[in-house]
């Protein structure tokens, strides 16, 4: 059964024209970068373009309510310190993951929100992929809509970004694929009818039609790692944050679309 599955996937890769044996690692030139949005059908684009049709907006509305709700032993709301998110959170998502001095490592936006809950609200962190965490993350990231992605330039981040790049380039798993095999070398082709895109995370958290829900970048990464039949990582694992860090550096200068819609 398993070998039949492997053959089927290999056949798909061949049908898609993806050269499994090629070992190239050419990053996409800046001028050729395209948001995942540009690969979508007009109907799907229309969902993202209309804020009253985009289901992701349901989460940002919830996030706005959570922003103002007091929580934890400190009985403080996000708004008590950060005030109006429209001003204070503008551009924040565009520079995450960012370096946390206390932890000495990069944290993504979800982790930053949970750190804020633990340190300042004295509340229990939200579970990864819970509706509340996705809602707050989407609300915060929405404030950066249209802002250019500008990764944190802290020199301490360099080794982590390098590890993320290594993860992206390294072949792994039963199919012996690296992220780069599809997203750098074959992004202009299709895999089983779906466009292979360029791995530029411009709109997370995204409303993915396949999920029928909002989901984080880490959920998407875990999907891809499962598809490669490689060893997966838990939500919040340093390896996934490092990969996020590298992916955001690939998307430097591109516009944030949160909450984006993807098929």
């Amino acid at each position: 059964m398993r070998s039949a599955g492997t053959i089927a996937v290999a056949a798909l890769l061949v049908a898609a024209g993806i050269a499994v044996s090629r070992l190239a690692a050419t990053e996409i030139p800046p001028a050729e970068r395209r948001s995942g949005y540009t690969f979508m059908a007009p109907d799907t684009k229309a969902i993202q373009d209309d804020d009253t049709a985009n289901p992701g907006m349901l989460w940002t509305l919830d996030g706005e309510a959570l922003w103002k709700r007091k929580a934890g032993a400190a009985d403080k709301a996000c708004a008590d310190c950060h005030h109006d998110a429209r001003a204070s959170m503008k551009g924040v998502a565009a520079r995450y993951p960012a370096y946390d001095r206390v932890l000495g490592r990069p944290v993504n936006l979800e982790q930053r929100i949970n750190l804020c809950r633990a340190r300042h609200q004295e509340a229990t962190p939200f579970a990864f992929e819970s509706r509340d965490l996705l809602a707050l993350t989407a609300f915060v990231a929405e404030q950066s809509r249209g802002a250019a992605i500008a990764p944190d330039t802290a020199p301490e981040l360099q080794p982590f970004a390098a590890k993320g790049r290594d993860f992206f380039m390294r072949r792994q798993g039963q199919l012996n694929l690296g992220c780069t095999s599809c997203h750098d070398d074959n992004w202009d082709k299709h895999l089983a009818g779906s466009a292979v895109t360029q791995a530029l995370p411009t709109g997370y958290p995204i409303y993915r039609l396949e999920w029928q829900s909002l989901g984080s970048l880490q959920r998407r990464l875990r999907n891809c790692i499962t598809g490669m039949r490689a060893q997966n990582y838990d939500y919040g694992a340093p390896e996934l944050v490092e990969l996020e860090l590298y992916l955001m550096s690939r998307a430097r200068g591109m516009q944030i679309e949160t909450p984006a819609v993807r098929p």
Binding site: D51, T52, A53, P55, M57, L58, L61, D62, Q212, S213
Partner: protein
Amino acid sequence: MASALINVPGKARRGDVIEIKTLMSHIMETGYRHTAAGQVVPRDIITSFTCRYNGVEIFRADLFPAIAANPFLTFFTVARESGKFDFEWIGDNGFSETASAMISVE
């Protein structure tokens, strides 16, 4: 934290055909799925949607398990008079949500 997104033009001329768009937050669990332990996940869907224009029903839909999460319904009507659109969603487990929108017709 159920919530709805409603798109109704705020203004219209009498006799105009206007488009109404509604999006309701709901998981639309089909009742056909099983957990890893083999137990059926109970059905939890919206079963009915109605829209009233100044109290008169102008649109109704019955919803079924094959409809995706967060149902997005759009339909058209003729702008006849200023007033209010009332929307109502009813579903399993006592789900009941309402929303409204105003229109001014010249």
